[in-house]
């Protein structure tokens, strides 16, 4: 046991969020060398494979079921498809356009809800983050800490009064309530994230522009915005996934009315009332998932960056 190295203090202090700054010499080669000793144990490989299978099979089951004829779905498990392949698009046709489910309508609602609910909070919080980062004003630190602290307030605590306020204004069960609510709930995290990214920009850049006589608006648009595009993208994906997948806010604010409710609300409803009709339910669930999954697969890099900045740097 005497050889057991205690973790040197330097490691414990290693900033976890900052991924590998460029190592002094050919990091790729060094990694490759270290990799040869990693995963040498077959147990490690087995663990990885078992976990990967556990994490993917359930989704595969849903996907396969949604393409099977309804008779097959109710008679046999989805794995029978490999022995006896018969696939159909009938379930999707019925889920999207069938009179009783009509998911295409909810798909439009999801889209109409999501775009403004992503764009509006991003713009408001970009401005606020700029204000907090680069404009000196009285009470700035206090206000920023207050906004930061609001991140932990569960949104449930605002829902009841917010809804009665909307009813008072006569705008309940319109898209405006959903847009407004999502905007408000997104602000604390968005401001915090974007502020972090803005603070990473070297002050000399901003100072130089100021010396050249640029006002705040010019600095904001010409100096900061181009550098911040990746950061904005990561928050945009975050917010997109959150809004598209949200159930609580939209359920409360739309009252599950077909004219405004998004996919999640309708699919959750179907899970309650059509629990046995797996062919429709799986197709419906997949319709509600396909957009976020595609967005996620293509923009994964930005998403991970946002995740790390939001959870670890703080």
């Amino acid at each position: 046991m005497t050889t057991t190295p205690l973790p040197p203090q330097g490691i414990a202090a290693a900033e976890p969020g900052e991924i590998t700054g460029p190592a002094p010499e050919s990091p790729a080669r060094r990694r490759a060398r270290l990799a040869t000793t990693k995963l040498s144990s077959p147990w490690a490989s087995l663990t990885a494979i078992v976990l990967a299978v556990l994490w993917t099979t359930p989704s595969l089951g849903l996907l396969v079921t949604s393409f099977r004829p309804s008779g097959d779905v109710s008679d046999t498990g989805w794995w029978h498809v490999f022995a006896n392949p018969s696939l159909t698009l009938e379930n999707y046709d019925q889920a999207l356009f069938g009179g009783s489910t009509n998911l295409i309508n909810y798909f439009v609602n999801s889209l109409v809800i999501t775009l403004p609910a992503v764009l509006i909070p991003i713009s408001i919080s970009l401005l606020a983050a700029y204000g907090f980062a680069w404009i000196d004003f009285k009470g700035r630190n206090f206000l920023f800490v207050a906004v930061f602290a609001l991140q932990v307030v569960p949104l449930q605590i605002a829902l009841i009064p917010l809804l009665s306020q909307y009813v008072d204004w006569g705008i309940n069960q319109t898209f405006w309530t959903v847009w407004l609510s999502h905007t408000i709930f997104a602000l604390p995290l968005a401001i915090f994230l974007l502020h972090n990214f803005m603070k990473d920009i070297p002050p000399s850049l901003v100072e130089a522009a100021r010396v050249d006589g640029a006002g705040h608006v010019k600095i904001f648009f010409q100096v900061l915005l181009p550098i911040l595009t990746p950061a904005i993208a990561s928050f945009a994906i975050f917010q997109f996934l959150w809004v598209w997948n949200d159930l609580l806010v939209s359920l409360t604010m739309t009252g599950a009315r077909a004219e405004v409710a998004p996919l999640t609300v309708r699919v959750a409803e179907m899970a309650g009332t059509r629990g046995g009709q797996w062919h429709i339910l799986t197709a419906g669930a997949f319709i509600s998932m396909v957009v976020p999954v595609v967005v996620f697969l293509f923009l994964q890099r930005y998403f991970v960056r946002g995740l790390l900045a939001g959870s670890v740097k703080g």
């Binding site: 973790p7 270290l34 569960p154």
Partner: protein
């Protein structure tokens, strides 16, 4: 003239606060909302961009003001109203002191809700973090790392409603003797165990099966953050440890885990806070039946289904109160790791 304006105003109002079913109208409305917003923001920026004539605080207010107003109106003020409402009766007509809270803690049905919530908040962070860490370590620096991580990360992109349906399909149970359609019961039948519906198990066992869904979603998050932390461990330290004869589990125990401690704390607390607020899973899996409800679900039911706003408000406040110790733990640990630095 006045009539005309009245008519115009009404027409605009009907158009903007549309409640109808026409897809084209909805899409145009969406564009209007975005355009309106761009115009308002542009106007604010244009107003504050006259550096000489405008005092500094107006500029600051132009940038920070919209966000602060929105937060004050939509989060802070409603939160205060909710706290106030939690001391009132069901329709908010009179104060009843702490009765709502008393009910939440003494009524047996609500005690089950609290017990379930405790199970969720303890088990989900611990298991997700543990599995995520193991996975991050075993796939680290392998050829398939990217692909393997995407597989586990994917559930993060799926809504909790979708994830619940995925798992209901896994749990689906038919009478024994019939062909099973749920994967879990099919496997059980293969090894000679009677099929069963996990949602109908004795509480709180059935809650454990619901918790699986959340673990399935959150593990990808834990894995991603921890993997980044692992990669941030300087190679020198790993090599030095190797020279000292450490490998495999020893490396994991004495180098990896202590090095990423701060990240572990953040992951645990973040997942705990997220789990506390989950209601989608419970609602989609069981609707809160069979004693599986949690505080967040009960909040929705009481506030918007039973129309017992006082009790709903009390439950919302309770959610907030439970978050506080988690945050204190988080801040303390961060201070600790900063002190070491």
């Amino acid at each position: 003239m006045g009539e005309y304006f009245e008519w115009l105003f009404g027409a605009i109002r009907d158009y903007v606060f549309y409640r109808g079913d026409d897809a084209g109208h909805k899409l145009i409305l969406m564009l209007i909302a975005i355009a309106l917003f761009v115009v308002v923001m542009g106007a604010i920026l244009w107003l504050v961009d006259k550096p000489k004539r405008i005092p500094g605080w107006v500029v600051a207010a132009g940038f920070v003001g919209p966000a602060l107003l929105a937060l004050a109106f939509g989060l802070v003020y409603p939160a205060l109203l909710t706290i106030n409402g939690s001391f009132k009766n069901g329709n908010g007509s009179e104060y009843i002191g702490l009765e709502n809270y008393e009910l939440a803690f003494t009524n047996p049905a609500f005690q089950a809700v609290l017990r379930n919530t405790a199970l969720w908040v303890l088990l989900v962070p611990l298991l997700s973090t543990f599995i995520g860490l193991v996975y991050a370590v075993v796939v680290d620096r392998t050829r398939f790392e990217r692909f393997a991580k995407t597989l586990m990360f994917m559930p993060m992109a799926i809504s909790m409603v979708g994830a619940s349906i995925i798992w209901r399909l896994v749990y689906d149970a038919r009478q024994s003797g019939d062909d099973q359609t749920g994967l879990m019961n099919q496997l059980l039948v293969l090894v000679g165990i009677e099929p069963f519906d996990p949602r109908l198990e004795t509480p709180p066992i059935n809650t454990l099966y619901l918790i699986v869904v959340m673990i399935w979603i959150q593990t990808g998050f834990a894995m991603t953050v921890l993997s980044a932390a692992i990669k941030a461990i300087p190679d020198d330290i790993i090599e030095a440890a190797k020279l000292d004869g450490l490998s495999g589990l020893g490396m994991f125990r004495y180098i990896t885990v202590p090095s990423i401690r701060p990240a572990l704390v953040v992951v645990l607390t973040t997942i705990a806070m997220g789990t506390l607020k989950v209601f989608d899973i419970v609602r989609t899996m069981t609707g809160g039946q069979f004693e599986t409800s949690v505080v967040a679900n009960e909040f929705y039911v009481q506030a918007f289904r039973q129309n017992n706003q006082g009790l709903g408000a009390a439950l919302a406040v309770l959610l907030f109160v439970i978050v506080i110790p988690i945050i204190i733990y988080n801040v303390r640990q961060m201070r600790l790791s900063e002190a070491i630095r």
